[in-house]
Symmetry: C2
Subunit: 363 residues, 2 copies
C-alpha cells in the first residue's frame, strides 16, 4: 500500500474507531427518515408542525421561553451577539481567544455585523471570573463555550459559572452559552440542562456533535430575543423553505443519544487514562470533563504519524485520521467519544495502547 | 364543512391542482434518496465528491468557470452584491423595486452588508435599458430578475438583455442574474442557458421552483468571484458540515425536470388563455413568457373567495389555496405550472373554467 495519505487510509480500513458515532454518510439521514411517513408536510419558511413542535420541545428541554432552529451554529451565534449589541447599543462582545467565532468563521461577526471582540483569558486556559472583572472595555455580551473545544474541552467549575452569571447580571452584561457540546458537559457538572441554561440569557446547542445528527442548531432564550433572531435568520439567508432535512435527524438522534452522555464521559476518562499510561503521551485535560480530550505527543509529527499507521495496521483500531503539528517537537489529535467506543473489544483496545506505547518507547 | 380557512381546505381536498409538482412533503426528499447508497460519504464543509461534482456539473451547465452550492438564494445573492461592491469600492447596487432582496429578505443587504439600493423602473414593469442609462447614481452592480416574479413573471426582450449587458460592460457595472426561475424562461427566449448566462458576470439559480427540489441554490461565475463567495458563505453561516440533504434532491429533480420547461411554458399559455376567456378575469402577463403568471380578478377578495371555494368543491380542481388583495375592488393569485398540470383531465379543466366564468358572471 502506498496511498497519498496512509494515516487516513489505515484509519478508514480499521475495524474499530475510537471516536464518534460512525461514518458521516448518507445512511445517517436515511436511518432518521426510515420511520417518517412521506405524507408528513414540509416546514415552510420557519412555519409548520415539523419545525414548531421541535422548537417548542427544545425550548422546554433547555428551560427557555422560546427556541428557533438554525441551519448552523455560526449563524445562530453571530445573530445572538448582534441582538445583544443592538439592544445595549455597544458593538463589542467578549469571548475566549480560541472561540469558534474568532478562528473558524472567517470573521463573519466583524465583517457582517461590525462587532468588535475582546479576547478574555489566554489561549491555554478557560475564562475565569477574574478575567471578566479586570476587563476594562464595555461589552454588550460575553460568550462562554462549554466545553472549550480548542483546548481539549476544558471547563470552568460550576461555581465559577454561577459567579460569572451573577456578576454579568449585576453589570448588565448579557451572557451567551456556546453550547455546541452542551449535553456532553452535564455528567461532569452533575447538573440538569436547565440548571446550566438558567445561568445564561441565550443558549445555542448543536445537533451534530455528541448527538450526531446531520447538521443544524437550536437557539433558545426569551420571547423577544427569539423573535428578533428569526428576523436576522431571514437576513442571513437561513430561513430556508424547508429545514426538515436537518430537523428530523436532529430529533431522531437527540432521542437516541441525549441520554448516553454519561456513558461517553466515562469512556473518555477511561481512554484518556490509557493514553496517559504511554511514554511521551499525555491528554488535555489530563482527566476529561466531557466526552472529548486532546492527545498530545512529545515527538515530531512525522514520527508519530509512522507510529499511528503501524498501530492502525497491526491492531485494526482506528486511533486518528489526522495529526496536528503543535511545534517541531510535538503534535496532537482530538478524541470525541461516541457510540463507536463501546463496540471496541477491550483486549483489542489494550493491545493497541500496548503497541502504541512500545513504538513510542522505541523512538 | 365549516373550517377556519375554507379556500385552503377545499384546495387541499381537491383531486387535481393547477400549479406546482405536488405536495411539499417528506416524500420529495425520500424519493430523491431512494436510489442513493447509504455508504455514500457526506460532503464536509464544502468539500467532498458529492458537492464538488455537482458544483462542477452546474458550472459547466451554466457556462461559467466555477459554481458553489448555497443553502439559499438569499445568501447567494447578498454575497454576490457584496463581492461586486467591495471590488469597485462602491457600496450601492441597483435592482427592480419588487426584487426579492428588496421585499422578502428583511433588508439583509442593508443591515448585514451596508449596501444601498437604487430602485430601477416602476413597480409595474420590467427594467429597460433606458432606466439604466438615466440612472444618475454610481452602482457596483445591477441585478436583473428573470422572470420578474412579483409582476407575474414578465421578461424584457432578449435584445434588451443584450443591450443592457453591453452597456454595463462599457460602464464597468457588474451584471448579476437573479435566475431563481432561470430555466423557466429559456423556451420563451429560445436560447440555451449558456447564451443567457453569458450576458451576466454572476448567476444564481434556485433548485426548488421549476425544478422542485427541497431547497438550495447555485451561484456561478469566474473563479476569483466564486472563491470569495465561499469565504462569505462561511461568514453567513452557510458553509454547513453537510449540504447533501439539499444537493442530492437538487441533482435528482434537475435531471427529472430541467428538460420539461417547454411543456410547463406551453401549459402556462394554455391555462392563461382559459382564464382570460372568463368574465372579470385577466392574467399578467396576458400571454405568459415562462411557466408562471398571475390571475387578476376585478372583484373584491371576499366574493372571489366564495367563487373559488365553489369551483373547487364542485369540480375537484384546486385553483388556488390563497388570494391576495390588490385593492378593495380586485385580488389575485399566482400560477406556476409544473408536473401536476398535465395530469388534469382536460374536460374537468374546461368544466372548472366554465363554472368559474358562470359564477363571475352572476355576481
Amino acid at each position: 500500500m502506498n496511498p497519498a495519505n496512509p494515516l487516513l487510509e489505515t484509519f478508514r480500513q480499521s475495524s474499530y474507531q475510537l471516536s464518534n458515532h460512525g461514518k458521516r454518510n448518507v445512511q445517517v439521514l436515511k436511518e432518521a427518515f426510515e420511520q417518517i411517513d412521506g405524507e408528513v408536510s414540509s416546514d415552510m419558511y420557519g412555519r409548520g408542525q415539523i419545525i414548531e413542535e421541535f422548537q417548542e420541545k427544545m425550548a422546554a428541554f433547555l428551560g427557555k421561553e422560546q427556541a428557533v432552529f438554525f441551519p448552523s451554529g455560526t449563524m445562530a451565534q453571530q445573530i445572538s451577539m448582534r441582538i445583544w449589541c443592538d439592544e445595549k447599543n455597544i458593538h463589542q462582545v467578549a469571548y475566549h481567544p480560541l472561540s469558534h467565532l474568532e478562528i473558524h468563521e472567517q470573521d463573519g461577526l466583524k465583517k457582517l455585523h461590525n462587532i468588535k471582540t475582546i479576547l478574555l483569558a489566554d489561549k491555554t486556559r478557560v475564562i475565569e471570573l477574574e478575567d471578566i472583572i479586570k476587563m476594562k472595555e464595555d461589552v454588550a455580551c460575553i460568550l462562554l463555550e462549554l466545553p472549550q473545544r480548542e483546548i481539549g474541552g476544558q471547563l470552568p467549575s460550576f461555581e465559577t459559572l454561577e459567579r460569572i452569571s451573577e456578576y454579568c447580571a449585576e453589570q448588565g452584561i448579557k451572557l451567551h452559552l456556546d453550547g455546541a457540546r452542551l449535553l456532553e458537559v452535564l455528567p461532569y457538572y452533575q447538573k440538569t440542562v436547565t440548571e446550566v441554561c438558567a445561568l445564561f440569557d441565550s443558549v445555542y446547542m448543536s445537533f451534530y456533535k455528541g448527538i450526531g445528527g446531520v447538521a443544524g442548531a437550536i437557539l433558545a432564550g426569551e420571547q423577544g430575543f427569539i423573535e428578533q433572531s428569526k428576523i436576522w435568520k431571514t437576513r442571513h439567508g437561513g430561513d430556508l423553505i424547508s429545514l426538515y432535512p436537518y430537523i428530523i435527524p436532529a430529533d431522531y438522534y437527540f432521542e437516541k443519544r441525549s441520554s448516553k452522555m454519561y456513558q461517553y464521559y466515562e469512556g473518555a476518562k477511561e481512554l484518556a487514562a490509557l493514553f496517559n499510561s504511554c511514554t511521551g503521551i499525555s491528554t488535555l485535560p489530563l482527566v476529561p470533563v466531557s466526552n472529548m480530550f486532546h492527545v498530545h505527543f512529545l515527538q515530531p509529527l512525522e514520527q508519530v504519524k509512522t507510529i499511528l499507521i503501524e498501530v492502525q495496521q497491526q491492531t485494526g483500531i482506528g486511533v486518528s485520521h489526522y495529526l496536528k503539528e503543535l511545534d517541531e517537537e510535538s503534535c496532537s489529535f482530538e478524541v470525541n467519544i461516541g457510540d463507536q467506543y463501546e463496540n471496541i473489544p477491550k483486549e483489542l483496545l489494550f493491545e493497541a495502547i500496548k503497541v502504541l506505547d512500545e513504538n513510542m518507547n522505541s523512538i
